[in-house]
């Protein structure tokens, strides 16, 4: 009734107050407790989902990045409220104070506030006096204040470009600290410089001009493993990009220093060393050559076994191998000469860690590949002796297993190696378990991905050409010829051509047996 609703509305404020009388949190009605139960159920489900996806996320962070994203600094917590302009003016005064304690506290506080800067802090760095004040602390000469100022600069350098570029004015100081004997100061300076090096080519070139390279390389002589790792972090970042001037790294004597840490060291340090090496070996064959001459290969190979149980920590080592194997043949030979190298790589191919497994398969395909690509370019440079070693190491059954099970992307990596082996000639393709492999390759042919199709076709071509029972093997699998035929209408002309030739040659219209198969 209308009159009731009007009375209700007039009372609405009173109703609100009445519900607060002796209020407690127990549900007053069934409907209320029902709503509450549903809300808890939904909240818990959301929590479970977030836990799952968050776990996947933080797994991908390196130790340094985890530090930066978690914002923890030896038990100090980041400033957890927003600083405003009043707070900043107060902080500025304190930084200029005549009391050492006040200055030290202020710069510590600033360091944490910079970790996750508020608008006011941002303006203080970009348009304000922040860098000047920090620089004053650097020049004043008190070691504690210097260290805390460098911590602040590390956090500024970790920020966005407009932050980082501001921090670059302190590069000369930081470089000079690298040469001092205060380990904490060296460590944080290297870290700050490493953060800057991440930012851009422009800043990396600035760092080189300030002579950062040699002192960083010299830090590798330290016996402090933490400092060595930080130096590697900075060096890896400095070695990024197309204009990294890697020759200067080698001239600075980095090779032997890196090598020295590969002997009897912890996985943490070895991994950081390998990150540097993976950048250096990605540069050019010349650098790989020099590093190999310095005897790096046996040292790297020695570390395969200790890193095997370390999951993703093995990645930079494997990537370095991949880079070496992608160079000239004699580089590959140097690796293979190490007795435990091939068994080691094949064992990494079976790793539970997906990226490790995948990159190891990539390394193996680079080792088997040199000849395979030569076939397509009609040059003959077969090196069966390499292949024999790969086969002796037990690669074929393991590759076959991977190529016929697991996920498409991993299968594909294994299939590349197998195709490469098959390309070496009749003897090799006949040695493959083709009845097991064929269904998998046919799935490639049926896929939508041109690269996969090409891989499948190459294999079919080799099978039909070199294996006497190849054709009947094809015919024994339902729809296999249909799969091949479907490629003849592909929009990729080379795939289409290859498929048509195979169809015409082996399953042409004159061949009644096949005709029947298709009809059946």
């Amino acid at each position: 009734m209308k009159t009731e609703t009007q009375a209700e509305k007039r009372k609405s404020i009173s109703e609100l107050h009445r519900s607060r009388y002796k209020r407690n949190s127990i549900s007053k009605t069934n409907e209320e407790s029902r709503r509450r139960r549903l809300a808890i159920d939904q909240a818990l489900r959301r929590k479970h989902r977030e836990q799952l996806i968050t776990a996947k996320r933080f797994r991908h962070l390196t130790q340094k990045e985890e530090y930066e994203s978690a914002g923890e600094d030896d038990g100090d917590y980041p400033v957890n409220y927003e600083l405003n302009t009043h707070d900043i003016s107060k902080l500025e005064e304190e930084l200029k104070s005549s009391s050492h304690e006040v200055r030290l506290d202020a710069v510590k506080f600033l360091g944490r506030a910079l970790f996750d800067p508020s608008k006011a802090v941002h303006d203080f760095v970009v348009d304000g006096d922040c860098i000047n004040l920090l620089t004053q602390l650097l020049t004043a000469g008190d070691p504690d204040e210097q260290l805390q100022a460098v911590v602040g600069i590390t956090n500024i350098a970790a920020g966005s470009y407009d932050f980082c570029i501001k921090a670059t004015s302190t590069i000369p100081y930081l470089v000079s600290y690298l040469k001092e004997s205060n380990v904490a100061l060296q460590d944080h300076s290297a870290w700050a410089l490493g953060n800057m090096a991440v930012e851009s080519d422009e800043i990396r070139s600035m760092l080189r001009k300030n002579g950062v390279l040699q002192p960083l390389v010299n830090l590798l002589d330290s016996s402090d493993s933490n400092l060595v790792q930080t130096a590697c972090f900075a060096l890896s970042n400095l070695a990024r990009g197309p204009n990294a001037h890697l020759e200067e790294f080698l001239q600075a004597g980095i090779g032997p220093k890196l090598a020295s840490h590969l002997i009897n060291n912890t996985p943490d340090t070895v991994t950081e060393i390998c990150w540097v090496l993976s950048y250096l070996t990605a540069g050019s064959d010349q650098f790989i050559g020099q590093l190999l001459n310095e005897g790096i290969a046996p040292l790297l190979v020695q570390n395969m076994e200790p890193l095997h149980s370390q999951g993703a920590l093995a990645l930079p080592l494997i990537r370095t191998f991949g880079n070496i194997a992608s160079g000239p043949d004699d580089y590959t030979d140097i690796l293979i000469k190490e007795q435990i190298f091939l068994p080691g790589i094949i064992s990494f191919c079976q790793s539970d860690c997906r990226p490790v497994k995948k990159e190891s398969l990539w390394v193996l395909s680079n080792i088997t590949a040199s000849v395979a690509y030569a076939i397509f370019s009609h040059t003959i440079s077969r090196r069966p002796e390499v292949l024999e070693k790969v086969i002796q190491a037990g690669a074929i059954p393991i590759l076959t297993e991977i190529a016929s099970h697991t996920n498409f992307d991993i299968r594909k990596e294994a299939a590349f190696s197998l195709t490469n082996i098959a390309c070496h000639g009749t003897k090799y393709i006949q040695a493959l378990p083709n009845n097991v492999l064929l269904p998998g390759y046919l799935e490639f042919v049926r896929s939508e991905d041109p690269e996969l199709i090409k891989l499948g076709l190459t294999y079919l071509q080799l099978l039909l050409t070199h294996v006497p029972e190849g054709k009947s093997l094809m015919q024994s699998i339902p729809d296999s010829i249909l799969a091949l035929e479907s490629v003849t209408v592909s929009t990729h002309s080379d795939l289409c051509r290859t498929a048509s030739v195979l169809m015409d040659t082996y399953f042409g219209e004159n061949n009644e047996g096949v005709e029947q198969d298709i009809l059946a």
């Binding site: 009007q6 107050h17 607060r20 009388y21 407690n24 069934n30 989902r49 996806i53 990159e359 690269e451």
Partner: protein, 866 residues
């Protein structure tokens, strides 16, 4: 009797088959001056009821039905209703309802535009007081029910007419009351008039004068206006407070008419509401270093010395056996005192404490109760440092008063102890107070059912406040040694057959809280609780068929819900440790689900329990899937029971998380049902966002095997992503927020599930010999679309904290998946940097959002440099 039923049935049939004829017939009776008065009134009500409905869909349906009636017929009805205004019989009281019901439909469609002028003309020019009264009443109804926008063009005239009727010069009191009611209803849309000083002064004068009328009803209506004016126009009240309101309302609180006194207390409660809100605004502004837009005039602080003595006196005016729905001045004063304590904080303490001290030992229960009530009411607001010594001093007395002979006193004492446990738990020293406090509360559980609720609440607060919320796995807690005793006492209450004063429900809620906050040393006891509850649940099933009547049935289902809720808490707490009785639990669950019960709430509770069991047992739950799946599918096929369907969708996610890749065998069915539900017009829209999230759960679980569902999923997500909210519709903004959140979560599941460990090359490099990831390549075509969607969400100013968290999380996941590929370009845009910065640093976002944003920043940075 049968004639009447027959007639009603005929009329109903007519209303469905020929609405125009139906209303014409009703009008004939309603308009006829010859017909019997009661009959006319009934016809008028039937007419009105065919026009208005509470529920929106039906309301719209009725409006269309009316508008489709022939103009002539409608016009006749309208004229007849207006004529009835002057009728002498009781039919006159129905006419304003009929007219306003028609007006609510027609005015928004720009019809019947002469109505408002006609009514205004009646008010100003009609001699007949009856006519004026009915016209004002109609205006009041119209102002209340019609959109302010529609009435805006007439606002000035309406206000003039209404205020004129409310003046003290109006000699007819009935007219004046209707005018004040109409004024009350128009206060919201006359904002423009209220902004003009001259008009405002006049309105305030009229209302203030009305508070001085000799007619109590007029005083009441005037005070109601004042409460609402304070709520709507606090900023304009400084002048009037000083001149008049201050004195008028203090006077009003002392009025001998309870209604007037209540409204005067309301007035001050409303002042407190407004000033608390202003303080909050000021705090927020201070945090960001800005000046607040509006300021508090501190009316409450100024008035406290005047109103506090009255409020404290009012506290002693309790009714003997106050009903639950009762609202009297003692209760209103209690609420007002609590609000005042929050508003004026420390200043409340000195005037209240003497009142407490001098009355708490009184021989008269009213004074003892008022003293405890006053003490309990001021525990929130003042600085805890000021309160702590007072509470320390009062605790032994309060604990003792749990034995007071009067139940009203005991109830207020338990409530006050509950407040202490809630907001000042540090005052309760585990070695000094806790033993006495817990045993007093346990004793209270045996007492009158009326105080059981507050005893339970106190125990719950103790459990929550004394457990460490951050550490769910603590070895022991100060409450551990009481766990068994408290649970035993609570279970005893729940053994009672009735739920008087909500006591059984309260006890079950307290058990749940004790279980979910317990430390590890209580786990063996929790298992015992689980078994007891399980036994009771089994018992309810055995008597299910013997229930008689709907009351008994409802009580039965309520009990089952309570038991299921406790059992679920036990399962959640014990996790894997529940395994030993999991078979028994699942058996009961399946029995309830397979019984013929039509009671959907019970089924929902079982589903919630199943969800807890899946999360506890993880892959081990697999053995129950065969009998459970048909039930789950059936719930998903009944979108009309949307709550149950919603939980069922959640269960799909639980199953996927628990089983991982092994869930793939069920995914065909899941996907089909989810897509069906998403497209279902029957399913309540609030469930749909959860469906989107669920698609992500599936992708996350089965990874590359999601390939076959990818096309349809992406299409569905794109459609949902195109939803936009009308910026004036808050419900819609909220809904679209949830939809976008579900959408983002789905993308997160897909990107994480399929691209994990691989790289998405947006333009696959076919010729290069790079590591190539098949599953990641599947997503590549959809990447640009995802970024477009994300940029739109990012620019939405109404996005919620959870939406922002999902959003920045997805940005991070994409950065990870596009690291070292040609997809880097997508991150070289301003909105990404801005969104990440905002999420990291704005105080509007939670700590967990900031953490995800920092991580995402690192991922984006890394990708930009690759």
């Amino acid at each position: 009797q049968s004639i009447r039923e027959d007639a009603t049935a005929k009329l109903e049939q007519m209303s469905r088959e020929n609405y125009a004829a139906y209303v014409a017939v009703l009008n004939q009776v309603f308009a006829s001056e010859q017909a019997d008065g009661t009959l006319r009134q009934l016809a008028g009500l039937a007419l009105k009821n065919s026009l208005v409905a509470k529920e929106n869909v039906r309301k719209e349906e009725y409006a269309q039905r009316w508008l489709s009636v022939d103009q002539g017929v409608r016009s006749e009805i309208k004229q007849a209703a207006l004529r009835t205004f002057g009728s002498a019989g009781i039919a006159r009281s129905t006419a304003p309802q009929v007219v306003s019901a028609i007006a609510e439909i027609e005015l928004p469609t720009n019809q019947w535009s002469e109505l408002i002028p006609t009514l205004l003309d009646n008010v100003t020019n009609q001699e007949s007081a009856l006519q004026r009264q009915a016209s004002l009443q109609t205006l009041g109804y119209i102002c209340e029910s019609t959109e302010p926008m529609v009435l805006a063009i007439n606002a000035n005239e309406i206000l003039t007419a209404v205020v004129q009727g409310a003046r003290k010069e109006e000699t007819n009191d009935d007219v004046r009351i209707e005018a004040l009611h109409a004024l009350y209803n128009s206060l919201e849309f006359i904002r423009a008039n209220f902004d003009r000083e001259g008009e405002r002064n006049f309105i305030m004068q009229v209302v203030c004068e009305a508070t001085q009328s000799s007619d109590e009803r007029i005083q009441l209506a005037a005070f109601e206006c004042l409460v609402r004016i304070m709520h709507l126009y606090y900023d304009k009240m400084r002048f009037y407070m000083e001149k008049a309101l201050f004195g008028l309302t203090v006077l009003g609180m002392n009025s001998e008419h309870q209604g007037v006194a209540l409204q005067a207390v309301e007035f001050w409660s409303t002042v407190c509401d407004e000033e608390l809100e202003l303080q909050e605004e000021a705090n927020e502004a201070f945090e960001v270093g800005e000046q607040p837009e509006r300021v508090s005039f501190d009316f409450a602080k100024t008035a406290a010395p005047e109103i506090l003595p009255v409020l404290l006196w009012m506290l002693t005016q309790q009714e003997e056996d106050a009903d639950e729905d009762e609202w009297n001045i003692a209760m209103a004063a209690g609420t007002c005192l609590a609000l005042l304590a929050q508003t004026i904080t420390d200043h409340i303490v000195p005037p209240v404490i003497p009142f407490v001290e001098s009355n708490i030992q009184s021989t008269e229960w009213r004074y003892r109760e008022a003293a405890v009530m006053a003490f309990g009411s001021i525990l929130e607001g003042p600085n805890p440092q000021i309160l702590t010594p007072l509470v320390n001093q009062a605790l032994p007395t309060l604990i003792n008063m749990m034995r007071d002979p009067d139940v009203n006193v005991k109830d207020t004492v338990t409530w006050t102890l509950g407040r202490v446990s809630d907001v000042l738990v540090e005052c309760i020293k585990p070695d000094i107070h806790l033993p006495q406090l817990v045993s007093a509360l346990v004793l209270g559980l045996e007492d009158n059912p009326r105080i059981v609720g507050n005893c339970c609440w106190s125990l719950m607060n103790l459990a929550e406040q004394l457990s460490n919320a951050d550490d769910t796995d603590q070895e022991t807690s100060p409450l551990s040694r009481y766990f068994e005793g408290v649970i035993t006492a609570l279970l005893r209450i729940t053994d009672r057959p009735d739920n008087e004063a909500n006591s059984r429900t309260s006890a079950y809620e307290a058990i749940s809280t004790f279980v979910s906050t317990a430390a590890k040393d209580c786990y063996p006891n929790i298992e015992k609780v689980a078994i007891t509850v399980l036994e009771r649940l089994e018992h309810t099933l055995s008597v299910q068929n013997q229930l008689i009547g709907s009351d008994e049935q409802n009580a039965h289902y309520e009990l089952q819900s309570n038991l299921l809720s406790v059992l679920t808490s036990c399962v959640r707490k014990l996790g894997k440790n529940i395994s030993s009785i999991a078979d028994r639990i699942m058996t009961v669950f399946l029995q309830i689900l397979n019984s013929q019960s039509k009671h959907s709430t019970t089924k929902e509770d079982v589903f919630i329990g199943v969800g807890a069991l899946i999360s506890a047992l993880e892959a081990d739950f697999g053995r129950y899937l065969e009998p459970f799946m048909p039930i789950l599918y059936s719930a998903l096929q009944h979108p009309e029971e949307y709550q149950l369907c919603g939980i069922a969708i959640g269960l799909i996610g639980d199953i996927c998380r628990a089983l991982g890749e092994n869930a793939v065998q069920y995914c065909n069915a899941f996907m089909e049902l989810l897509v069906q539900n998403l497209q279902s017009p029957v399913l309540h829209r609030n469930v749909k966002p959860a469906i989107l999230s669920c698609l992500g759960d599936i992708a996350l679980a089965i990874g590359g095997q999601f390939e076959s569902y990818l096309n349809v999923t992406m299409m569905v997500l794109q459609q949902a992503g195109n939803m936009r909210a009308d910026k004036t519709n808050l419900d819609m903004i909220e809904y679209v927020n949830q939809l976008h959140e579900g959408n983002v979560e789905a993308y997160v599941g897909i990107v994480q599930g399929l691209a994990s460990g691989g790289k998405i090359f947006v333009q696959p490099q076919l010729t290069e010999r790079l590591p190539f990831h098949y599953e990641a390549a599947l997503i590549a075509p959809y990447v640009p679309g995802m970024f477009t969607f994300l940029s739109i969400v990012a620019e939405d100013e109404y996005k919620s904290d959870t939406l922002v968290r999902s959003l920045v999380g997805l940005i991070g996941d994409l950065a990870d998946a596009l690291y070292g590929t040609d997809g880097k370009q997508f991150f070289q845009v301003d909105w990404i940097t801005q969104t990440l910065r905002e999420a990291r640093s704005s105080r509007h976002y939670s700590q967990s959002t900031k953490e995800v944003a920092r991580w995402a920043k690192e991922m984006v940075k890394r990708t930009l440099q690759s």
